[in-house]
Each structure stands twice: as structure tokens, then as C-alpha cells.
């Protein structure tokens, strides 16, 4: 249906056959490796969150020699730990009409038809196995009185398919895969290397053959070789400076891989989460997410009157605008994230926002408390209420939450084929770090699902295909390529230390974030993006003249780590703007003001833009080259995404 031509550099390697049989058939046709041969293959996994941890553990269980790296002191601190709400699975335990196909359909539709069908179907297919696996590992999911697993509903779906563990599903799932990882560390299957940050990847004869890391404790730069490298290094929301990501979350691993030839897909697809605690002042270091599950029982509203400064409880019912219920009667407060976020922005742009600076809307539990009782509300959301109270000093049992959207997740990431391999042979990318499954917008409770699907089930099956081509173990870091990359890495760090300006790297990061939030955030325009491109470039130049990075290279130096990450964000911001500018349509989280329906909804252009954009690096200051992967929809009908 699409007029878009596939770039010759992209081969998605989607297996033939009906969608429901692709994955089964693929696995059957996949080359098998004998157990004694698996020992001869060494895989480096970078990152130890849900995707990396589960991949490292499973690969080691299968017999591969695995080395897993993380920059934290412990794999358990990876940012997956912070996910609150839940994980989707097409179990249909509630008998409410759920199925693999429905989860697949919801995900494709939720992503506004910008994801690859075959990948999404596979994701929906393995979703059930994830729940089984986690329950068997001892992940303490919330349960009903009969002892069976409990479910809740989540944004963008009309069935209850979300499994959860109170308000800390991410931590419990992560502890599950951390436990599996620990078991492999104990048995020698995984060598865990903590407090090491990947600073570049190394290729030998066109294949990814290793990485260069910095030991964050001693500053030592070292090389590590393997048959394959897996990046599970998360997303880049921190490009906005203020986001719900952890302070350490960064783009360095994926950006460095991009510089070495891995294509970066859909960088402008960044999700803005609708329910975060608004910023309090310019010293704000990060934003805190309140689980979207709050929208199950809370009602979102703003005053009807502009500039209404009355206390929320003093505003009568008739003078409140429950705008999500008004605009999207069938989904109401459970409208997908991009839609809910934009609606909040609209209300605030209309000067009807509440709280400091008018950047906030109310999320009100008054009706839920009246309907269910305070105890029932506390049982469901108590920890979120407490957290809000700790941060703001306000009591949400009595006064509504104030919420505002914040950057939260990046659907964009390194381009991967059906095997989850990037355009660099031997370099695999899993979890949030890749772009594969969520299209232009991710549904709630699907990130945990994707991370674990990739790590537990998909990558361990697909990587065998690649490894089967090897004769033996790769562990040699002597090739000259390693020395060259090491020199590169050292040179860059030394350059950072030698700038000798007088501004902290954080101050540049803040400026970058402000530019991107204003021009490449919830809504974008051609003029704004062009302006941002100039500003980011200018900022990058100033950074390399004015930054001051204290300390030395050969010591534990958090300021150096931060500066190095900011330097990459300063490039990443530009790449996002290029992509957002090129994608001259609105879809999902990417909202170009030029392309909207009369009532302000995103207007897709399937004729010209039904493809994934895979950007190819051409130089630090050059405009990257666009490669297109057309998206074929054989099983779902391209439709206007409506939640009305």
C-alpha cells in the first residue's frame, strides 16, 4: 500500500508465513547449537535491567559464556526497578475477551501504526510465558483472596491484562531476573562486572567484536572481546534533562554504537507520561512519575475558568472541566498516554493549569474515595499517595493530586531486525534501547513486557542464528581495532577534563533539556525544530569551550561520568530534531502542529510516512542519512486511532 521504498541497507528478515506462525516456524527452522558448542561462544551483555539481566541469565542457562556489565554498583539498581504499574500479558485470566491477537492489535494501534507487525505479534505471543516464568522465580505478584493472580486495567486497553506487584512491579520483576542472574554468577555462567561503563564498541572486519569500558572505581580503560555484543542500555529520555528516568540513565551506549554504524530508528518518538509530579523550582533534578494506574480511579480535571486561583475543593462541580471524559467518552481517563499528555498541555496552554506556574492539572480521588472508601483506595494506591505526600507535603486523600506530563520513555532506539540485531552484524539491541515494538507510542505496562520478552525469550533464540556462523570462542582483545578505540575513548575523556571552563556539565544539560522540551517535546513545528537544531549545535560548541570537569581520569569521578554523558546528549538532541523535522506528519507521541484534525488530534500521513526512519551517522556535525523501512500491515487495518 505504501509508496515508500526500502533502503537497501535495511533487511528486517521477517520470516515468511502467516503472522501467528512466524515465530514458531522461525524457531523450528533456526539452527540449533549443541550444548558443548555453546560453551565456545562468549556474549557480552551491556546493562543489567529487565532486558539485559534476563538475557544474561538465560544465555548462561543455555550454556553460553556470558559477561554482563553495568555502571551501577549492583545489577539491582538498573532503572527498570522504578517501573510501578505493571506488566501486560495476554493470559485472559479475567475471561474478558483478551487474546494474543487483541494484545497485538492494541499495541499496534496504541503505537499509531508505526511498529513492525511481526515483532509486535511475537511480543504478544511470549507475553504469557513471561508471567509464568516470573511467578516460578518467586516474583510476588499481587493476588486475589483465592490465591490466583490479580489483574488491573491500564491506559489504552479495554481488558484487564496487567499483572502487578503493588506499586512496584518493576522492582519485583527486576529482582526476579536479578535472582536468575545471581544464580548464574554463582555457578560461573555469568561474569558480572559492576561499576563499569561502556564507552564505545569495537568492530573487527565489520562485526561487533567487543567493547571498551571505563572502570568507574579506578578510571581504568579496558577492552573486552566476545562473539557478540548485546546492548540493553535503556532509553534516552534524559536528553530532556528533566524526565522520570534515573539520573544515570543515558544515551552513551546507543549513541556510541550509532556513531560506529548502527542505525538509530525513530529518535523523535519520545513518550511524555501524563501523570508526573510537576516541577517545583529551577533546582529540580528529575521528575517523579505517579503510576498511570491512578487514572483507573482518579478523575482528571482543570477549572473551566482561566486563571482560577481558588483551592480545588472550593471549585464547584459545575465549574470543573473533566476534559478527558468530555473529549474521549469511551476511554475517558484511561486515554493513551500521548493523548492524555497533550490534553493536559492544551489545558495549561489555555491558562487553566493549576499549581506553581500553572503547569499542572488535578487528578482527583474524591469520587473514588466516596465510592470505594478510603481504605480500599489506600489498599490500591497507598504507596503512591504516600510518595506524593512525601514529595509535595500535600495530602492527596484530602486535596487532589497535581500532575503534569514528563518525558518518560523513548520508543525510538537503535534499529534492529526481527533477530534484534542492529545494522552492525553481531551487535544486538534489546529492551528500551531498541526501537522495535512500540511504534510511535507505547501503551502502559508494555515496557516491562518488552524488556523481558526480548531478554528471556527472543534474544536467546535469535542470537543462536548469528553465533552458528562462528568456529570458536572470541576473547582476543589484541586486534589493533581495540587499541584504536581505547585511544579514542581516552582522548575524549582527557579533552573533557582539559576544557577548563567554569560551568558545570549539568548547566548545559539543563539548557539542552529546555530547548528540546519547548521545541521537540509534546508538540513540534517546523520552525521550532529548525530553531532547536541551531540552538543545540550552538550549545554543543559552548559546552566544549566552557564546561569545567573537575578531578582526574584515574579515579572515581562522578563529574566526569556526567560530562561524558551530557556530551552525547548534546548530539542526541540534534538527531531527534532532524527526525522530528523530517517526519512531516503527526503520529502517536510525535505531534506536529501543522498536522492535526480540526479537534486537535494527531493526523497521520500513511501515504508518505508509513515507515520507520533509520538514521545513519555521517559525521559529528553532518546531517545524518535517512534509510526507510516501509511498514506493511497485513493483519491490522490502518485506521484513524480513535479513543472517543
Amino acid at each position: 500500500m505504501s509508496a515508500v521504498e526500502t533502503s537497501s541497507k535495511l533487511d528486517a528478515k521477517i520470516p515468511a508465513g502467516p503472522i501467528a506462525e512466524k515465530w514458531t516456524r522461525y524457531r523450528f527452522e533456526n539452527k540449533l547449537l549443541a550444548p558443548n558448542n555453546k560453551r565456545k561462544f562468549h556474549v557480552i551483555v551491556v546493562g543489567s535491567g529487565l532486558a539485559g539481566g534476563s538475557a544474561a541469565a538465560t544465555l548462561a542457562e543455555q550454556g553460553y559464556k556470558v559477561t554482563c556489565f553495568c555502571f551501577h554498583d549492583s545489577p539491582r539498581r538498573a532503572h527498570s526497578v522504578a517501573a510501578q504499574g505493571g506488566i501486560n500479558a495476554a493470559k485472559n485470566y479475567q475471561n474478558d475477551g483478551d487474546s494474543v491477537f487483541r494484545l497485538f492489535y492494541d499495541t499496534v494501534k496504541g503505537g499509531d501504526f508505526r511498529s513492525r507487525e511481526a515483532n509486535v505479534y511475537r511480543l504478544a505471543e511470549v507475553s504469557s510465558e513471561i508471567i509464568d516464568q516470573c511467578a516460578a522465580q518467586g516474583v510476588p505478584f499481587s493476588r486475589e483472596y483465592g490465591g490466583l493472580l490479580a489483574n488491573r486495567s491500564f491506559g489504552g486497553a479495554q481488558v484487564s491484562r496487567t499483572f502487578y506487584s503493588r506499586g512496584q512491579t518493576g522492582q519485583q520483576l527486576l529482582l526476579g531476573c536479578y535472582a536468575a542472574l545471581n544464580r548464574q554468577i554463582k555457578s560461573g555462567g555469568v561474569t558480572m562486572v559492576t561499576r563499569h561503563e561502556l564507552l564505545d564498541i569495537v568492530q573487527v572486519e565489520g562485526h561487533a567484536r567487543g567493547i571498551v569500558t571505563r572502570d568507574l572505581k579506578t578510571g581504568e580503560i579496558s577492552s573486552h572481546a566476545a562473539n557478540a555484543v548485546v546492548l540493553a542500555t535503556g532509553g534516552y529520555s534524559n536528553v530532556f534533562y528533566l524526565s522520570t528516568n534515573a539520573m544515570g540513565s543515558n544515551v552513551t551506549a546507543t549513541y556510541r554504537a550509532y556513531r560506529r554504524g548502527a542505525f538509530f530508528a525513530n529518535p523523535c518518538f519520545t513518550q511524555i507520561h501524563p501523570t508526573c509530579i510537576p516541577a517545583a523550582g529551577d533546582y529540580q533534578s528529575k521528575l517523579t512519575l505517579m503510576s498511570e494506574s491512578l487514572r483507573n480511579d482518579g478523575r482528571v480535571w482543570v477549572p473551566k475558568k482561566q486563571g482560577d486561583t481558588r483551592k480545588p475543593r472550593e471549585i464547584p462541580e459545575a465549574e470543573r472541566d473533566y476534559y478527558l471524559e468530555r473529549k474521549y467518552p469511551s476511554f475517558g481517563n484511561l486515554a493513551p498516554r500521548d493523548i492524555a499528555s497533550r490534553a493536559a498541555k492544551e489545558a495549561c496552554d489555555d491558562k487553566r493549569g493549576v499549581g506553581p506556574g500553572g503547569r499542572g492539572v488535578y487528578l482527583d480521588f474524591k469520587d473514588a474515595i466516596a465510592r470505594l472508601g478510603k481504605d480500599a483506595v489506600a489498599a490500591r494506591y497507598g504507596n503512591l499517595f504516600d510518595m506524593y505526600n512525601r514529595i509535595t507535603g500535600e495530602n492527596p486523600y484530602e486535596t487532589p493530586f497535581r500532575i503534569y506530563p514528563a518525558p518518560h520513555y523513548t520508543m525510538g532506539g537503535l534499529w534492529v531486525d526481527y533477530n534484534l540485531m542492529s545494522t552492525i552484524p553481531g551487535l544486538f539491541v534489546i529492551g528500551e534501547a531498541n526501537y522495535s515494538d512500540h511504534g510511535a507510542n507505547r501503551l502502559g505496562a508494555s515496557a516491562l513486557m518488552q524488556g523481558l520478552a526480548d531478554g528471556y525469550f527472543v534474544l536467546p533464540a535469535t542470537i543462536a542464528q548469528y553465533l552458528a556462523g562462528f568456529k570458536g570462542l572470541v576473547s582476543d582483545t589484541r586486534p589493533a581495532a581495540f587499541r584504536e578505540v581505547e585511544q579514542d575513548v581516552k582522548g575524549r575523556l582527557e579533552k573533557l577534563l582539559q576544557v577548563g571552563g567554569n560551568k558545570s556539565s549539568a548547566s548545559f544539560h539543563r539548557e539542552l533539556g529546555q530547548v528540546l522540551w519547548d521545541k521537540c517535546g509534546m508538540s513540534r513545528t517546523e520552525a521550532g525544530l529548525k530553531e532547536a537544531l541551531g540552538k543545540v549545535k550552538d550549545l554543543r560548541e559552548r559546552f566544549w569551550k566552557e564546561v569545567r570537569v573537575p578531578g582526574r581520569i584515574d579515579q572515581l569521578n562522578p563529574a566526569l561520568e556526567e560530562a561524558n554523558r551530557v556530551a552525547d546528549f548534546l548530539h542526541m538532541g540534534e538527531l531527534m530534531c532532524h527526525d522530528a523535522l523530517q517526519r512531516d506528519e503527526s503520529c502517536g507521541a510525535h505531534f506536529r502542529e501543522e498536522h492535526q484534525t480540526p479537534d486537535g488530534e494527531a493526523k497521520r500521513n500513511d501515504q508518505d510516512f508509513c515507515y520507520s526512519s533509520a538514521w545513519e551517522y555521517t559525521g559529528d556535525d553532518a546531517v545524518p542519512t535517512l534509510n526507510k523501512e516501509p511498514l506493511e500491515y497485513e493483519n491490522v487495518k490502518l485506521a484513524v486511532r480513535s479513543y472517543k
Binding site: D73, R77, A179, A180
Partner: protein
């Protein structure tokens, strides 16, 4: 508000450290404790001094990275609150605040306020898991779990591995941490096959790492950001005793 911070500064693991005093004027009460240190650090960088190294990441109380002792109390004065979620509204103008790293032989200082907590990882590697390979799991609802036991397991599993229990204990004991980890798994049916070997192995590693013994003072519970109950320690002692005396035959 204007504050004085007395902060432990130590350049390297093997270098001597000392308390250094900093004036921090103009602190906003809506700042978090860490944001207050961010502000101080930016000022230090602009002045050409070394910023204070401290561990932090998620800043929403779940990753367990914060490792500061504030006026003698890990994570500071607010109950069930990590340092990153401690807000300056709980301090007042003119306060002098001591900020020190978690202190324990098993948690050596790496730099300033950063300590090495890898001992916790090693304890969990000794048995904090259920041995099941990916792909072997039965249907999740094939094993119902008693609701009360499940809730108690979640209570224990809420542990964020920060180590405040160790930092607060006069014996630098890790009993609350280990008890939470052991109990989370031993409360669930899935954890039964390895229940007794697990507790023996984890306690043995805990001892080898150089943590102290439990005096049952419950300071750990009082500072635990997740409010994990010391009753889990008693539960672990019970498991340990049973593991020591019982045999399958």
C-alpha cells in the same frame, strides 16, 4: 534558608578522610536533600573545587542508591523515606547537618559518601534465588498462593537493598536485609525446595562478609525506608534453626 553542612570527604578508599564544613545559603524548602547537594556541588565546580561524590540514581526511593547518614540517621529524620525523597522543609534555617557515608567494615568507603555495597550482591548470589531455568515454568495460576503469605512475601520483597539497616545498626549487622531476602522466597510455595539450604548459605556468606550480629534493637526497622519488620529476622532465625537440626530422613 541558610544551612551549614559538615560532610565527610575522602578522596580514595585508602586515603584518610575528614569532616569538611560548607555554608549553603539560599536553600529552598521545596528542594530534596540531594538537590540541595546538587546546588552545593555546582557552586563548588564553579569555584574550581571538587564536588562531593555521592551515590544516587532513581531519586524516587526505589533503586536504593542513596547511602548517606544525616545527623547520625541513615536517610535522615523522616520515617520510611530515602534520602532522595527527603525534602528540605524538614529542616530549618541555621541548621547544622552532618552528612556521613554508611559505616561498616563490609561497606568500605570508595570516595566521600560513596560506599561499596557489593557484599549484598554476594549474599544474594549465595542463594537468593529459586533455581528455575527460563522456559520451564508451569502456568502461573497452577500454583495458588495463600493471600496472607503472598502479602507477607511482598512486604519482605519491598527491600530496596540500600543498606540503611546495616548503617543504623550499632553492630553493622545485615540481618534485616538478609531476613527480608530469605523470607520473601521462603514464604512462597515456589521457594520451598531450596528453603533450608538457602538460609544456611546466605547467613554463612553474611558472616563471611564481616557484618555484625543482631542485638534485636530494631534500629534497622526504624530507619528502613520500606518499613520492613524485624519479625522477619525472627522468622529467619526460625528457618536457620530448623535448617540446622532437621534432615530429610
Amino acid at each position: 534558608m541558610d544551612l551549614t553542612l559538615n560532610v565527610w570527604r575522602q578522596e580514595r578508599a585508602d586515603a584518610p578522610g575528614k569532616i569538611v564544613s560548607y555554608d549553603v545559603p539560599g536553600v529552598d524548602e521545596e528542594m530534596s536533600f540531594l538537590e540541595m547537594i546538587d546546588v552545593l556541588n555546582e557552586r563548588l565546580i564553579e569555584k574550581g573545587e571538587e564536588p562531593i561524590a555521592f551515590e544516587h540514581d532513581c531519586r524516587e526511593g526505589i533503586c536504593g542508591s542513596c547511602s548517606m547518614v544525616i545527623n547520625g540517621v541513615p536517610h535522615g529524620p523522616q520515617p520510611e523515606t530515602t534520602t532522595c525523597q527527603l525534602y528540605m522543609r524538614h529542616f530549618k534555617d541555621g541548621d547544622t547537618i552532618f552528612v556521613e557515608p554508611f559505616r561498616a567494615k563490609a561497606f568500605p568507603v570508595l570516595r566521600d559518601l560513596i560506599v561499596d555495597r557489593s557484599a549484598f550482591d554476594r549474599i544474594q548470589q549465595a542463594g537468593g534465588y529459586i533455581s528455575i531455568n527460563t522456559g520451564n515454568a508451569p502456568d502461573a495460576n497452577a500454583t495458588p498462593v495463600n493471600k496472607e503469605a503472598s502479602e507477607a512475601a511482598i512486604d519482605a520483597a519491598q527491600c530496596i537493598g540500600c543498606g540503611a539497616c546495616v548503617a543504623s545498626c550499632k553492630n553493622a549487622s545485615a540481618m534485616l536485609f538478609v531476613a527480608a531476602k530469605v523470607s520473601h522466597l521462603s514464604l512462597l510455595p515456589q521457594g520451598q525446595p531450596e528453603r533450608y539450604q538457602r538460609v544456611l548459605n546466605m547467613v554463612s556468606t553474611m558472616d563471611d562478609e564481616g557484618f555484625g550480629a543482631c542485638t534485636n534493637q530494631s534500629e534497622c526497622e526504624a530507619v528502613c525506608p520500606k518499613g520492613i519488620s524485624v519479625s522477619y529476622i525472627s522468622r529467619m532465625n526460625r528457618d536457620y534453626l530448623r535448617a540446622s537440626v532437621s534432615t530429610p530422613v
